[in-house]
């Protein structure tokens, strides 16, 4: 495998009064989908901006494709979708995409051809000659998505790519991201939607308060997290289970969804014990399954306590 697409080396970034990223190191190997997970205010966007060279780290360095020339020199190889979406409102969609292509160094004619292809692929060809401001938010996001991918970069960095999209459009975007990875290109995206990351990512990093909490392949992270996990689905008489679920000698951690729950067994406790206890109490069960911990469960377990105290992000980091 060639040099890592992105290597972040002990990077620290402070904004007046608080540290957004603290001595963070991570490595995104080339190829595959890398998920950067974390609660709001964890420093995901700051990390991505540091990688993009939009912010300069106070300490440490960022290496892209094994060179520390910075993203601007390598901008032809990188596609970027920022968290704050922005387009020129008065420009026509097609002109805008052509312009974005040109800023990546693609010729005008080539850029035009690719813009047409992308608009077709995203199903917005009819809007090519409309002004950006006439488009819905979701459609604008698709246009910007196309703009980030127009030059077929080998590294695609997407900051919260699926936020604000309806399920149908999120599906379209997901398919494209998966297709990019299938071509051997690298995708790095940030999200706080764990289910998505779990299904899509080869590797993940969970950060909180600007620090790395856990990283590795999804399977590895789950294995390292360890413990036995049980997924429950209730049909009736759930209130009868409450005493059992509150028993700390049986259950280490509970994530209650109402009609269902995911829990981690306490050290030395057995899932069979739990099942027996639930049946004895006459709790109506729809599902009882010993499962791998979901990323969500890991996420909550690792950073759950932090979420409540996540520092309000300073204006400059927003």
């Amino acid at each position: 495998m060639s040099a890592a697409s992105v290597r972040v080396e002990s990077v620290t970034k402070r904004f007046s009064g608080h540290t957004a990223v603290n001595n963070l190191s991570m490595e995104v190997a080339s190829g595959g989908i890398y998920g950067l997970l974390g609660p709001n205010g964890a420093g995901k966007s700051t990390t991505i901006r540091l990688i993009m060279g939009i912010l300069e780290p106070d300490q440490g360095r960022v290496v892209l494709f094994g060179s520390d020339h910075g993203s601007r020199k390598l901008s032809q190889r990188i596609g970027y979708l920022p968290e704050e979406r922005g387009l020129y409102k008065k420009m026509k969609v097609l002109d805008h995409l052509i312009f974005l292509g040109e800023t990546k160094g693609i010729s005008r004619t080539d850029s035009r051809r690719r813009a047409h292809n992308w608009l077709e692929r995203l199903g917005v060809s009819d809007w090519a000659l409309k002004k950006v401001e006439d488009l819905s938010k979701g459609m604008q996001q698709k246009v910007q998505f196309a703009g980030a991918l127009l030059h077929e970069p080998e590294l695609v960095i997407l900051d919260e790519p699926f936020s604000g999209l309806d399920p149908v459009n999120a599906q379209v975007m997901k398919d494209i991201v998966v297709a990019i990875a299938a071509e051997g290109r690298t995708v790095l995206f940030s999200t706080h939607v764990m289910e998505q990351a779990e299904r899509m990512c080869d590797r993940i990093a969970i950060i909180a308060r600007g620090e790395m909490v856990v990283s590795g392949t999804v399977a590895q992270v789950k294995e390292d997290f360890g413990g036995r996990h049980v997924a429950l689905g209730f049909t009736h008489d759930k209130q009868r289970a409450e005493a059992i679920l509150a028993d700390r000698s049986l259950i280490a951690h509970l994530d209650d969804y109402g009609a269902s729950a995911e829990l981690q067994m306490a050290e030395g406790a057995d899932p069979e014990q739990l099942l027996a206890a639930l049946v004895r109490e006459g709790v109506g069960l729809r599902r009882f399954e010993v499962v791998e911990p979901s990323l969500h469960a890991i996420f909550i377990a690792k950073v759950g306590a932090d979420v409540a105290v996540a520092p309000a992000r300073a204006g400059a980091a927003a």
């Binding site: 901006r49 993009m52 060279g53 939009i54 912010l55 993203s71 601007r72 901008s75 990188i78 970027y80 920022p82 704050e84 979406r85 922005g86 387009l87 020129y88 409102k89 008065k90 420009m91 002109d95 312009f99 974005l100 040109e102 800023t103 990546k104 160094g105 005008r108 910007q144 703009g147 980030a148 300073a314 204006g315 400059a316 927003a318």
Partner: protein, 438 residues
């Protein structure tokens, strides 16, 4: 380089496409043409012979010499020109005067195809006319100031001739003596004639100073606004990932400047065309040569057009870069005002120094101002149009401008680099200084 061109093109095309740009660009030339044509049309506008009925109640046959004087007037200086008037004399006694006059007036002032249309005007000479110089004229064209003063001049000359003749002065001598003085003023530059009249260079200087002031202020602030827009729409983040701040700044200022220059060139060019080809345009619009001379648009020498556009370009780049830097420092248009005022003051001082220059084109103040790069864009073109500027002095002024321009662009790029991604609070002067040094 290719990327800068892409940015320049975007700025230029998006700006030129707006309705505001198209309308303002087209309206001024239309206005200029109207300015050139309308007064001419309104004030004289005669290219046909006026038929004058002359009621002669002088009792001394005064009608004859006046008629002869009028018939001698031609519509233009060409040898084959048609006479300006055709005159028919109706002798009348003082008693008959009113009825003859009213009868003639009844056939005057109809439009051409009407049957009653016989006369364009009725002139009444009374017994008193020779002594007092009083006479009456009734006509459909009395509002044509130019025509009326011409007619008055002709009649007074005729009356003077008759009076002098009565005193025994020879008619030929009178004619020689009455030849009018006709003074043309022409500007001299470097010992050569420029073909510009004194009135012309004043008008041009004034007009140019005004246009430079308005457009540099307008386009400079547009640059600032557009940086703010990029910041608020957050497109900046996408741009910074592919473009260097210098590419963005240069592309933006050049693009906006090019749009401004296009507008200036269209405006300046239309003044140039109207002034140098005024006669052709006039005749195309069916105006008499007489009317065209009446045009208030002065002639614009090509050299001046070049100096004008050159200083607009340099002046805009200088101020555009500064305004862009201010835009980068702020988050809203309101915020920009407290910084923009420092730049705007320079522009206003530059504009007002134009007035002192117009008063005294070779005076020390105006000449000094034309070397100071922040004021030169306004003062130098005006100085050039009002007096002759030695090439060396022009080169010095241009050289100083270019050096200052580069310094300002460098400074602006430093501020821009940090400023464009700063959201939230405005920088203090201390922080600004750190941005520049960083």
């Amino acid at each position: 380089m290719k990327k800068i061109i892409a940015v320049v093109r975007r700025e230029f095309v998006e700006r030129v496409r707006t309705k505001a740009f198209v309308i303002s660009t087209v309206m001024l030339p239309v206005f200029i043409v109207l300015m050139a044509v309308l007064p001419g049309l309104m004030m004289s506008g005669t290219d046909r012979t006026s038929r004058v009925a002359m009621v002669d109640a002088s009792g001394i046959d005064l009608g004859q010499p006046v008629r002869e004087a009028m018939l001698a007037e031609k519509l233009s200086d060409k040898p084959d020109a048609r006479p300006r008037y055709s005159v028919q004399v109706f002798p009348a006694s003082t008693a008959e005067l009113a009825s003859v006059r009213d009868g003639l007036i009844g056939k005057t002032g109809f439009s051409k195809n009407k049957q009653q249309d016989t006369w364009d005007g009725v002139m009444v000479l009374t017994a008193d006319t020779l002594a007092s110089g009083k006479l009456e004229y009734y006509g459909g064209n009395v509002g044509a100031v130019q025509s009326m003063s011409q007619l008055q001049r002709t009649v007074s000359n005729a009356l003077a001739t008759v009076r002098l003749g009565k005193s025994g002065v020879d008619a030929a001598l009178v004619k020689k003596a009455m030849a009018a003085a006709d003074m043309d003023t022409t500007k001299v530059s470097d010992g050569k004639l420029t073909g510009q009249s004194g009135k012309d260079s004043f008008l041009i200087a004034y007009f140019m100073g005004f246009i430079l002031y308005i457009s540099i202020l307008l386009y400079g602030q547009q640059t600032m606004t557009s940086v703010i827009e990029e910041k608020t729409s957050r497109i900046m983040e996408v741009l910074t990932s592919s473009l260097t701040p210098f590419q963005m700044l240069l592309g933006k200022v050049l693009g906006v400047g090019l749009a401004g220059l296009t507008q200036m060139a269209i405006w300046g060019g239309s003044v140039f065309v109207v002034s140098s080809k005024g006669a052709e345009i006039g005749s195309m619009l069916g105006m008499g040569a007489d009317a065209v001379q009446q045009s208030p648009i002065p002639s614009m020498p090509p050299g001046l057009l070049v100096v004008f556009l050159l200083y607009f370009a340099l002046g805009f780049l200088l101020y555009g870069a500064l305004y862009a830097a201010i835009g980068a420092m702020c988050n809203t248009i309101q915020e920009t005002q407290q910084y923009a005022i420092f730049v705007t003051v320079f522009i206003i001082v530059g504009f007002f120094s134009v007035f002192s220059l117009i008063k005294d084109p070779t005076g020390g103040l105006g000449v000094t101002m034309s070397y100071i790069p922040f004021f030169a864009p306004f003062t130098m073109p005006v100085r050039w149009s009002m007096s002759s500027v030695p090439p060396l002095e022009l080169a010095l002024s241009l050289g100083l401008m270019v050096v200052t321009l580069l310094a300002c662009v460098w400074l602006a790029a430093r501020i821009y680099r940090t400023g464009i991604l700063m959201y939230g609070k405005k920088p203090s002067w201390g922080e600004l200084w750190r941005w520049i040094r960083a």
